[in-house]
């Protein structure tokens, strides 16, 4: 188990050593989103009966930060060590593909949660959202981070160059997170786009996470949990299959 623990520790140390860039920067970005959108929309939009727009926005921004940073952590670590060749130090030791997967995914989820807590800490003062169901908050943050961490492992293994990874990030991860109801309730959308949003697994991560804060949500939290759980199993199984085959790593 020491091999696994060391790899996990190394992955945590890797982002923590550059925390200005990996933690502080995304927190500032989220804060800017909040300042701008709440300034423009707080007086005009009310999402659920009782929830101010700024309060509604905060959990969305927190979850978006969790998801994007979890993805960034595993994918950038892998592509970096692939491009520089230092991945060989992890491939030579007696570490199983399952341990490899878990170390990268857990480190990614932790980075996501750390950034999420940072975002929450700086935004919560603008409109305290209430913490109706803390367990749901915790479960969705962790599962969301793990899914994106596992997706980051897939992207990091698949991409050979930084721009391929950037493509994955810009054309898949960013649209999925931005169009998931971070900034709006999907009930405000025309029916067609509501249907489309229901096909986006990230929507359920955000909606379930938000339920934890307000006790109200667009869909049932149990449905969200089922979708998010299934997404986690699917992405993990795919990622583990690639690792087991040694796809692009041990060819």
């Amino acid at each position: 188990m020491t091999g696994f623990r060391t790899l996990l520790w190394k992955e945590l140390l890797r982002f923590w050593k550059v925390s200005f860039q990996t933690v502080a920067a995304p927190v500032i970005t989220a804060l800017l989103y909040l300042l701008i959108f709440s300034h423009v929309l707080d007086a005009h939009v009310r999402v659920y009966e009782s929830v101010r727009y700024t309060a509604f926005l905060i959990p969305g921004l927190v979850m978006m930060s969790v998801l994007q940073n979890a993805f960034a952590n595993s994918s950038s670590s892998l592509i970096q060590s692939k491009v520089t060749g230092s991945l060989v130090f992890v491939l030579l030791p007696p570490i199983s593909y399952l341990e490899f997967f878990l170390a990268y995914v857990i480190a990614a989820a932790i980075r996501g949660v750390v950034v999420g807590l940072g975002v929450l800490a700086v935004t919560v003062w603008f409109a305290p959202p209430g913490f109706e169901q803390p367990l749901w908050i915790f479960v969705f943050a962790l599962l969301g981070g793990a899914i994106m961490g596992a997706l980051g492992v897939v992207a990091g293994i698949w991409a050979d160059k930084f721009d391929q990874l950037a493509g994955f990030q810009n054309f898949l991860v960013l649209p999925l997170t931005m169009l998931s109801g971070v900034f709006y309730s999907i009930h405000s959308l025309p029916p067609f786009w509501q249907q489309v949003s229901h096909l986006n697994p990230v929507f359920y991560m955000i909606d379930g996470f938000r339920y934890g804060f307000f006790g109200v949500s667009d869909v049932s939290p149990l449905l969200s949990l089922a979708v998010v759980g299934a997404a986690f199993i699917g992405v993990s199984a795919f990622s583990l299959a690639l690792l087991k085959r040694g796809y692009k790593l041990r060819n």
Partner: protein
């Protein structure tokens, strides 16, 4: 003595290219073994298969009896590999790098051995320096150190001295020789043939994914080289017909004669005397691996 590394009918293709076309080889415990061949001969592919970095298409490899695929955990614990590329993790210092590498091999509190490696590789004063700040030669030494953290009984060095200065090379070889004398099996690939000649007891030469020579260094030298007599004749004369058959090449105005034995010196001198030729310069050089290498590679190409 047991078998340290056993390679049986190893095949590996990359696309249409056959990198390894059925290689079989046993390396014994305690050997200092050389793996030579031109670029693209399959040396690094062979090492990658041994280290689990590449999956063989066919064949089997074991390290001290442990199959590198089925029993990869034990096999990897028994193997230390110094990769050819100069790679490093820019986030960490030398000591952090070595502690992390120890951890990957399930070792905690490995600092005593880490300190010993650092001292032997002349890295002690760089222990707390970030990897990014090290020179190329220093990074190379850290690569060697990383391969040794778990005291592997079998050590593979893939061109460890490329771009390393003379002083360090000496220090490195001294350390590796010591490890060898303490019982570690060493497998070395290098383009510096004089190094292989000086260090390796046995050598395999690879060409286009096949073993084209496998013997003790002494036997290879005896069989494929021999002493060379370099002669420069006054007035740039041609060699007399009687000894022309011994000439292997003419280099910088001097004839190179390959001597089957020392008695041939007499025949050469007699022939020169009979033809009234005088010698301007003469030198006798012992066999060297470079010539063996060139001859074997030429033979392989024409085959």
């Amino acid at each position: 003595m047991g078998v340290a590394v056993s390679i049986q009918q190893l095949e590996k293709k990359f696309g249409g290219l056959k990198a390894l076309a059925g290689v079989s080889l046993d390396i014994l415990e305690g050997e200092f073994f050389g793996l030579l061949g031109p670029n693209g001969a399959g040396k690094t592919t062979l090492i990658s298969c041994l280290a689990g970095l590449a999956r063989p298409d066919a064949g089997a490899l074991t390290v001290l009896g442990r199959d590198v695929v089925a029993d990869y955990r034990e096999a990897r614990r028994l193997l230390g590999v110094v990769p050819q590329e100069l790679v490093f993790d820019p986030f960490f210092t030398v000591r952090e790098t070595l502690r992390i590498q120890s951890g990957y091999f399930d070792l905690r509190d490995n600092d005593d051995w880490i300190d010993e490696i650092l001292a032997n590789l002349d890295l002690a004063d760089k222990a707390d320096t970030n990897m990014r700040r090290l020179s190329g030669g220093m990074k190379r030494r850290v690569l060697v150190a990383q391969a040794l953290v778990h005291k592997p009984p079998v050590i593979v060095l893939d061109e460890p001295t490329a771009g390393v200065d003379v002083e360090l090379r000496q220090g490195l070889w001294q350390f590796i020789r010591r490890l060898n004398s303490e019982g570690h099996t060493i497998i070395l690939t290098t383009h510096y043939l004089e190094e292989a000649e000086a260090l390796c007891g046995r050598i395999a030469m690879l060409q286009q994914g096949r073993i084209v020579a496998l013997d003790s260094t002494a036997n290879l030298l005896r069989e494929f080289s021999g002493h060379t007599l370099s002669l420069r004749l006054a007035g740039d004369s041609a060699l007399p017909a009687a000894i022309a058959a011994l000439a292997s090449r003419q280099q910088a105005g001097a004839w190179q004669l390959r001597l089957p034995d020392f008695a041939a010196v007499e025949r050469v001198l007699a022939a020169l005397r009979e033809n009234g030729l005088s010698i301007e310069d003469m030198r006798l050089t012992p066999p060297d691996l470079e010539e063996v290498f060139i001859r074997i590679m030429q033979k392989g190409r024409s085959a």
